[in-house]
Symmetry: C2
Amino acid sequence: MAKKLKTTTKKNTKSKVLKEPPVILVTNDDGVTAPGIKNLVQAVKDLGKVVVVAPDKPQSGMGHAITIGQPLRLHHLSTDDNVEIWSCTGTPVDCVKLAVDKVLHRKPDICLSGINHGANHSINVIYSGTMSAAMEAAIESIPSVGFSLLDFSIEADFEGARKYARIITEKMLQSKLDKHTVLNVNVPAVPASLLKGMKICRQAYAKYEEDFIDREDPHGRHYYWLTGEFVNFDKGKDTDVWALAHQYVSIVPVQFDLTNYALKSKLEKTWK
Amino acid sequence: MAKKLKTTTKKNTKSKVLKEPPVILVTNDDGVTAPGIKNLVQAVKDLGKVVVVAPDKPQSGMGHAITIGQPLRLHHLSTDDNVEIWSCTGTPVDCVKLAVDKVLHRKPDICLSGINHGANHSINVIYSGTMSAAMEAAIESIPSVGFSLLDFSIEADFEGARKYARIITEKMLQSKLDKHTVLNVNVPAVPASLLKGMKICRQAYAKYEEDFIDREDPHGRHYYWLTGEFVNFDKGKDTDVWALAHQYVSIVPVQFDLTNYALKSKLEKTWK
């Protein structure tokens, strides 16, 4: 079949592409019932066949965790209006792996993750289940985008995020980008009419300065709650944090080759 | 006090450094009782004051997960022979954060993670709790190294890994490397005498091709076990996978700025 396809004319190939709507895998880390993922589906559902495979419970901060020590389950929730919805007992990364192997039985044309309730700019890309799911897809040669809105609230206004999720998904489907492409998209928490457009950025060196709240249980033993204050150490005007502070939708292209090539060169010369 | 130090001569500063042994934070993802972490402590305990803060249970595959929804606990296990040992109920990344804030009350001079039972080369750097702990330290401006031995066994022979853990830790303590330095070190599972030395490498594009084993529970419902076959798609001779196959200890310098700068430039020109 593959050989036969190669012999068709360019025109035929194009019309074939037009006939077959793209398969769009949607996941997140806030769980399958979160308003954010419903808004994402709403934004893109007429661009292709949408299949949702998302965690059955919140999985924020799970980073690139995978489930090794216990089995996973999938539950089919609904199929209607060109959208198929499944929940999964695992992490966001598990969802992507299981979706490809046991739900789609093929690689989707694109993977969209989010829309996350809360920011995933700067160093948060590393802790974020939303972005780890997108990264996992890209490792599997599926172009992907993670979307986040800078509003934790369950009643957040997703209008602007929906608008740009659609614009960016259309651009991704139309562009001939590398199959390992991952974009980290964050949307400021302002009314859609105030958004100034999109900005391609680098990841800021900005992070949470951690502190743990120390409490005592009824038996006099200590326990600690993670908390922290966000601090931006990066004064650059080409960062995602700068763009978001100036009401732009930030887009950071992300990679999963973590090699520090500058340090590699240095060590090759000095660590003899 | 800081001001006073600045006014001392270079010679005095040097002798001061010599007088105060470095504080070495040790953690892992296999848990505080794993042979790997005991071997790491053994390898470096006379190089400084060693403080172990490690998970109280195995945390392999936890990636950069952090604990947000529940509190954490610390347990002091022992202090002797210049080594202080604590267990923590959280993930490897939680261990680093808690160690700095609630055990050391300062940044250690170096963080060592491992020695992991099993490989963390190539794409595994992203899933690995061992490497995420090291990365977390580097984000916190603590130079760090993650060590892994290519042998899952509880009875693995750590002699070669111990030898190179010591050599590399000494080099790190002596070198004036950036405070955000992270090294991913993997050691082949061969007798120490057969190791050919160290090689500075890049991360190979090699990964597990996933497959899930599909089983039925006694109620006829499906459940899935993650499994997979390791495949190397990268034929380069400068990769960690190549070095390990040729009996070298692989050292990949790692970074946490995930920006794909090449794609950033491309999108800036084309996504107008």
